[in-house]
């Protein structure tokens, strides 16, 4: 992949296009319009852009009021402050009231880099996924960001979308159309399924390419729509491959790994390995160093694939009753 685009930049540019197409769209920011990229919209539509200053709680409440008044507000700030600082405002007003507010938060994950753990949201997807009425999205690349932003503007209801700071490889074609509750099958394979969200989709593709050189055929599913999750794609992939790896630039609790575990645990128990942060905060450093440190690389996904395939093999080799026997005997 040569072309790279940043999801936050593609969000900002798409928002500016949408502003020209739909006069009901308004945009709010909390003193981070350069970083979140809402400045593209702000420059053109001055009367429809509201900076509330460094006040994320007020940001969410004001957006809620604008939605109540018939507008389509997009509220942006860093993912940490949107979902952390203003979680209760989002819960009490936007989600509980089922209001037409789009929260698009940038700087998700550890690839924020040098700013460190205070600014790296690694729990935002969990905080939003737990809310009734909320749709939760995390695009993998530029085209998916553009499609999701356009979809969110047309959809009536609360939406959370996470964008990232870095430029990332382009995966999807420009004709990509986003559909609520649908993931994408990016690669077929029968040995293991790699399920990714956000920047980890590319890492899954890279891991699959590496595995292919070793004769392992990995299926790759992109699950940028975390809520509602593509239940059918998850279960079908698990049934076809019998081994699943999830990968997210987020805690393994509450995000994609949790969501997939929940579905598989209830409907299709399958050996699963989760790639993500494990009970830890982020830290300062170069994004690539941080991805390595937290085990978020294509190589980590490959290792997880080996592990989960070994578990699949042992499951197939030993029927359920045999596996239970030793523990019963040991009592």
């Amino acid at each position: 992949m040569s072309a790279k685009e940043s999801t936050r930049v593609e969000y900002g540019k798409t928002l500016a296009q949408l502003g020209a197409e739909n006069p009901q769209i308004v945009v709010l920011d909390a003193d981070l319009s350069g970083s979140t990229q809402t400045h593209h919209f702000a420059k053109i539509f001055k009367d429809r852009f509201f900076n509330v200053g460094i006040a994320e709680q007020d940001l969410m409440g004001t957006a809620a009021g604008l939605a109540l008044g018939g507008k389509i507000p997009f509220a942006s700030t860093f993912a940490m402050f949107a979902t952390g600082r203003a979680w209760e405002q989002i819960r009490q007003t936007i989600a509980y009231g089922n209001l037409n507010v789009k929260i698009v938060a940038s700087h998700g994950g550890v690839t924020v880099g040098e700013d460190g753990g205070s600014h790296q949201a690694v729990e935002d997807l969990a905080l939003m996924r737990i809310l009734p009425n909320m749709v939760v999205l995390a695009p993998a690349d530029g085209p998916e960001t553009r499609a999701m932003t356009r979809w969110a503007a047309a959809y009536h209801g609360p939406v959370y979308m996470r964008t990232g700071r870095l430029a990332v490889p382009v995966i999807y074609g420009n004709g990509y159309v986003f559909e609520l509750g649908r993931g994408s099958l990016l690669r077929e394979g029968g040995d293991v399924t790699l399920m990714g969200i956000g920047i980890m989709v590319q890492a899954c593709l890279d891991a699959a390419a590496g595995l292919a050189q070793e004769g392992i055929e990995a299926r790759v599913a992109s699950l940028g729509c975390l809520k509602p999750l593509d239940w059918e794609l998850v279960v079908d992939s698990a049934q076809r491959t019998g081994a699943v790896v999830t990968a997210e630039e987020h805690m393994v609790t509450g995000g994609l790994g949790s969501a997939v575990s929940e579905i598989l645990g209830e409907h299709c128990p399958t050996p699963l390995q989760r790639i993500g942060l494990r009970d830890t905060f982020g830290m300062s450093g170069k994004p690539e160093d941080l991805l390595k440190h937290y085990g978020l690389t294509a190589d980590d996904i490959k290792q997880a694939a080996y592990t989960v395939m070994a578990r699949k093999a042992s499951h197939l080799a030993s029927p359920v009753m045999d596996r239970q026997a030793p523990s019963l005997a040991g009592r």
């Binding site: 308004v26 009367d47 429809r48 509201f50 509330v52 200053g53 006040a55 709680q57 007020d58 969410m60 409440g61 004001t62 957006a63 809620a64 009021g65 604008l66 939605a67 109540l68 008044g69 018939g70 507008k71 507000p73 209760e88 405002q89 009490q92 007003t93 509980y96 009231g97 089922n98 209001l99």
Partner: protein
């Protein structure tokens, strides 16, 4: 209120002070009845806000006969969401739901939740109850009305203890920064919060000076004097380029001697004896 003969006409209330006073008395009776039946709820802050709500809804706010969702209507946000019983007693008189619903307050399956929920109750604009959030919402409505070119005025009722929430002052800055002269805040200054007097729990004075310093046109009225409240609403319309805050001095539990000024009745329903006395004092 939703008079068929006035269908398709904007209703501009012609305030009759005696009628409004009588309505406020009936609203208070309803509040006492609802809370007694529910055996729970916020008595003191509902009674303190009764005159404010009656003056606002029946003496000031523009509605549209036959169309409660009229886009250009005046809007109200009950930021002090625990005052829900007073709000419901007003909404029922505007025809939003049948009167018998009042007696289901806080019960399983009721359209009248313990705190306002727009998903359940016709006439409620947005869920409130977690304090400190309503003024930001009102700001958003005021900005939307301005963008839409609507003449709507936006009203938000705040509790006095509520201004201890930091978000109120974020919203205070935003409203002044954007010059929201279609926004009126009303502060129910009943001087009590759950744990005691506001002066003891967390001082909020000098209250009027704070709002003035934040750039708001600030008035002080007797929150139980309906002509004073109506005059204040009218005066706020003359103010251009900045929001208005009406500090309404009230008595918590107003209208029933045993409830007045007693912190105990912030979130307590009357027992049978208290209920009997309240009904008697309110002339029910």
């Amino acid at each position: 209120m939703l008079d068929d003969e006035k269908a398709d006409k904007e209703i501009t209330a012609i305030p009759d002070h005696r009628l409004l006073k009588e309505t406020a008395r009936q609203v208070r009776l309803d509040i006492v009845e609802m809370l007694f039946r529910a055996s729970s709820g916020h008595l003191g802050g509902s009674l303190s806000a009764a005159d404010i709500l009656v003056a606002l809804f029946f003496g000031e706010m523009r509605a549209h006969a036959g169309d409660p969702c009229w886009i250009d209507r005046d809007r109200f946000i009950l930021s002090k969401g625990h005052g829900a019983p007073a709000y419901y007693a007003v909404l029922v008189r505007l025809g939003y739901f049948p009167r018998e619903e009042l007696l289901t307050l806080r019960q399983f399956g009721s359209i009248l939740q313990g705190h306002p929920d727009s998903g359940c109750t016709p006439g409620v604009e947005i869920p409130t109850g977690s304090l400190g959030q309503g003024l930001s919402i009102a700001n958003g409505l005021a900005l939307a009305a301005r963008l839409n070119g609507h003449a709507s005025r936006i009203y938000a009722l705040l509790g006095d203890g509520e201004v201890q929430e930091g978000q109120i002052w974020e919203a205070a800055m935003t409203a002044a920064h954007y010059g929201l002269d279609n926004l009126v805040g009303i502060l129910d200054r009943n001087r009590l919060q759950i744990d005691g007097h506001t002066a003891e729990v967390m001082s909020i004075e000098p209250l009027a000076d704070k709002w003035k310093a934040f750039g708001w046109h600030t008035l002080e009225v007797d929150g139980h004097d309906i002509p004073q409240l109506l005059a204040a609403f009218t005066a706020c319309k003359e103010v251009k380029g900045r929001p208005s805050m009406i500090i309404a001095h009230t008595v918590k539990g107003k209208g029933v001697s045993i409830f007045e000024g007693q912190k105990k009745y912030h979130g307590t329903a009357p027992n049978p004896e208290e209920y009997q006395q309240a009904v008697k004092e309110l002339g029910g």
